[in-house]
């Protein structure tokens, strides 16, 4: 057997060994995608018997569906506000807990508590807190104001975004904290000490030494939370169901309404496919940044 034949044989053997794994990955990853695509070009709904081929009609409808674009806008708005807030607060907490504080393990455990609660439960709890009649938030504001205050947190367009963001940031900042805290504890302390000897203050050290070192973790944390925020559903569903009207309706809520309340299976599939495309582009861009950073 020549050297070339041995090499060819090894390659074939290698392909044969990875073939089952590749097949499974393709089946798990690609089949739903292809199926979604197929459904999106038909006219399937739970109510109608007609399931005929529609071509790109659902996509055409989606492009002119103002509610879809508004929902996308709301989603991006939530992401744009909540993500930096969670990052800044998470980083601040991580830096705080780097110091040896009394009772640190207890505080860390308490801090992580919101993350382990189901988002729908967290939303329901915040709904009670924001209740305009019996909620403690209005009561505290009333005490401070010295007169009864009835803020309709979940109805008033001036307050509803703040209410949702408070609940969201409360629940997920600890997640950001955990990742960043773990990353910061691995930063070589001598780097900071060297910077301080050279006269760098806290902010300078943070900006020029610490953050660049933990940048890959920050990007991953932002990616994970960014994706989560793009799919945000539970907490908003529990708080407002997308209301008042559709003012806080996100892309996931709109997809749920179309798919499971209006039974527009094919239209929802088209929506899902567009969302997948958008998310894929975003994730690839983010991963590219991680690669550059490395």
């Amino acid at each position: 057997m020549t050297q070339q034949n041995v090499h060819r044989h090894d390659r074939r053997f290698g392909y044969a060994m990875i073939a089952p794994a590749v097949a499974i990955i393709l089946f798990i990853g690609l089949f739903p995608l292809i199926w979604t695509l197929l459904v999106s070009v038909q006219n399937i709904s739970l109510i109608d018997e007609d399931t005929s081929f529609q071509g790109l009609l659902n996509y055409q409808r989606l492009m002119s569906d103002t509610r879809f674009w508004e929902a996308l806008g709301h989603t991006l708005l939530f992401t744009a506000v909540a993500l930096p807030l969670e990052l800044i607060l998470g980083l601040a907490l991580a830096l705080l807990f780097l110091e040896e504080l009394p009772g640190r393990p207890v505080f860390v455990a308490l801090l992580v508590l919101p993350t382990v609660i189901s988002p729908i439960v967290a939303g329901a709890a915040w709904r009670l807190l924001f209740d305009n009649r019996f909620g403690p938030i209005n009561q505290v504001i009333s005490w401070v104001a010295g007169e009864p205050v009835t803020i309709l947190w979940l109805n008033d367009p001036n307050f509803v975004y703040a209410a949702i963001l408070i609940a969201e940031v409360w629940q997920w900042t600890p997640f950001m904290f955990l990742l960043l805290f773990a990353s910061l504890t691995n930063v070589d302390p001598s780097l900071g000490e060297a910077a301080r000897i050279d006269g760098a203050g806290f902010w300078r050290t943070l900006w020029s030494i610490t953050l660049p070192v933990i940048r890959p973790v920050i990007v991953i944390a932002l990616l994970i939370r960014g994706l989560d925020l793009f799919r945000i559903f539970d907490v908003i569903w529990a708080l407002t169901k997308g209301g008042p009207g559709t003012r806080t309706e996100t892309i996931s809520i709109y997809a749920y309404v179309q798919g499971f309340q209006q039974f527009e299976t094919s239209y929802t599939a088209a929506m899902a496919f567009v969302i997948i495309v958008i998310l894929t582009i975003l994730v690839m861009a983010a991963l590219k940044r991680v690669e550059i950073a490395r």
Partner: protein, 484 residues
């Protein structure tokens, strides 16, 4: 508490058994016929989809065990939240699993479910098991409107849901309030108010005089249930949902704008945060004496009187502080909404259609239904003529005769929920509209959007198809208030 519960269970059980055992009636009663025919299926199990929560306590605690004892057929109760019932029924039908035998169906869904082929046509079963005569006892408003699609029976109307007005007789009868009312409006305070103008004037004045202890009234303003209130009031103000020729939505007509504008004005003299009042908040406010008038479903009247509220299942209901001080009347405008309701149907994919049908015939029958509508925890409301006139029911609490009379009058004059193809899309547009109303948007602008959404839905469904469905619905005697 337990003693009362045991007593209630014992009396209902004994009543049902006694009714079945009476020789003269037994030969004819639909309940007896169902039991006899069902015995051949002894040892089998049937499933029934039932609204989760209190409603399901009827088959779980009362009718299911009794049916099993009578026939040997076990009943599996599949509890589903109301908001998911339509989806689950359709999904199961599409999957064809045969997981559901009998169904609870909101009558407004029937055209969609029939069109999807999910419901079994029942005419043949009704004749086969001799139920047609007893169907005639069902109050006409339910029998003639909530039983058929295109003239064929698909459901047995089983729940007399209707809004009625509850008012505090002591507050409206207070001489101080009556004097203030006459001084301000120049006529005697109407007890109860018969028009929305009267209602608003009485409610606003009570709040003004009492300083909100109690408030003049409160309503369910939550969009999910408030949309029923909109449907009622819109038609009482003369509104028509569609132009019957073009199928263009008319929901943004002056009648619709008036309803929305009136709601916003009313909120000013109602409790703070009224915009978020749902069924429970409104109930609590009335039972605790915080409000003098309200409109809602029939259980309010029973619980306000304290009937059955010592049941463990009802321990979440606030103790009534207004028992003995509540009057019952038809809603202002005279044509209350037959909001929601339930009919009993058979799944087209059931493998036990006969056994399931016999169960729902038995449940719905004259003998058994009278027991079921008196279960304080199960939310089934009177729907047969005999329920309204039952001496046993009238003796349940001192004001029960007036309560039943109000329900009967409301049933006679009630108007139907809109029920066309893909009704939920139209209702969803109203729900969103109400939600926007509470965020301070302009009523006309909101309703113009709602009308645009309705038109878009009609286009998608198909104007001609929807026109035919609307014509079928609008031809029913209780679709709209009779023209003066």
């Amino acid at each position: 508490m337990m003693q009362r519960r045991r007593f209630l269970e014992a009396t209902t059980m004994a009543g049902a058994l006694a009714a079945l055992a009476r020789p003269s009636l037994a030969a004819e009663s639909a309940a007896k016929k169902a039991v006899e025919a069902a015995k051949q299926y002894a040892g089998t199990e049937i499933s029934i989809v039932w609204e989760a929560g209190l409603q399901a306590l009827d088959p779980l605690n009362f009718s299911g065990p009794l049916w099993e004892k009578e026939t040997g057929i076990k009943v599996k109760v599949v509890e589903v939240p109301t908001s998911e019932m339509f989806t689950k029924i359709l999904q199961e039908h599409r999957a064809g699993t045969g997981a559901y035998d009998a169904l609870n169906v909101i009558p407004a869904w029937m055209p969609d479910l029939v069109r999807a082929g999910a419901l079994e046509q029942l005419d043949e079963y009704v004749d086969k098991y001799g139920y047609r005569d007893e169907l005639q006892d069902i109050a006409p408003v339910y029998r003639d409107n909530q039983m058929t699609v295109d003239g064929k029976i698909y459901g047995l109307p089983d729940d007399g849901d209707v809004f009625i007005m509850y008012y505090r007789t002591d507050v409206l009868g207070d001489p101080k309030i009556q004097e203030a009312f006459k001084a301000k409006h120049g006529y005697d305070l109407p007890v109860p108010p018969k028009t929305w103008k009267e209602f608003d004037e009485v409610g606003a004045l009570i709040t003004e005089v009492t300083g909100g202890k109690p408030y003049g009234a409160a309503f369910i303003r939550d969009p999910a249930q408030g949309q029923f209130m909109f449907q009622e009031r819109f038609r009482n103000e003369g509104g028509i949902f569609f132009d019957a020729e073009t199928m263009k939505a008319q929901v943004n007509s002056p009648a619709g704008v008036k309803v929305f504008s009136d709601w916003v004005a009313e909120n000013k003299w109602m409790p703070p945060g009224i915009e978020n009042f749902g069924f429970v908040e409104n109930l609590a406010a009335f039972l605790q004496g915080d409000t003098a008038m309200t409109l809602s479903w029939p259980p309010y009247g029973r619980w306000a009187a304290g009937y059955g509220t010592d049941e463990a299942a009802l321990n979440w209901v606030p103790k009534s502080t207004v028992a003995g001080k509540v009057g019952y009347a038809v809603s202002p405008g005279g044509h209350p909404e037959l909001a929601s309701g339930f009919a009993l149907s058979i799944s087209a994919s059931s493998a036990n259609k006969d056994a399931a049908y016999l169960f729902i015939q038995w449940l719905n029958s004259r003998d058994i239904s009278i027991q079921r509508v008196q279960l304080p925890f199960a939310l089934r409301d009177p729907f047969r003529e005999g329920h309204f006139t039952s001496e046993e029911y009238k003796s349940r609490w001192p004001e029960a005769p007036q309560y039943l009379a109000a329900l009967q009058e409301a049933a006679n004059t009630g108007i139907l929920d809109l029920s066309i193809l893909q009704t939920d899309r139209y209702e969803e547009a109203i729900r969103q509209g109400i939600s926007r109303l509470w965020s301070g948007e302009d009523p006309q602008a909101i309703l113009d959007d709602v009308a645009a959404q309705w038109d878009a839905t009609t286009e998608r469904v198909g104007v001609d198809k929807q026109k035919a469905a609307y014509a079928d619905w609008a031809s029913k005697p209780n679709a709209y208030p009779p023209k003066a």
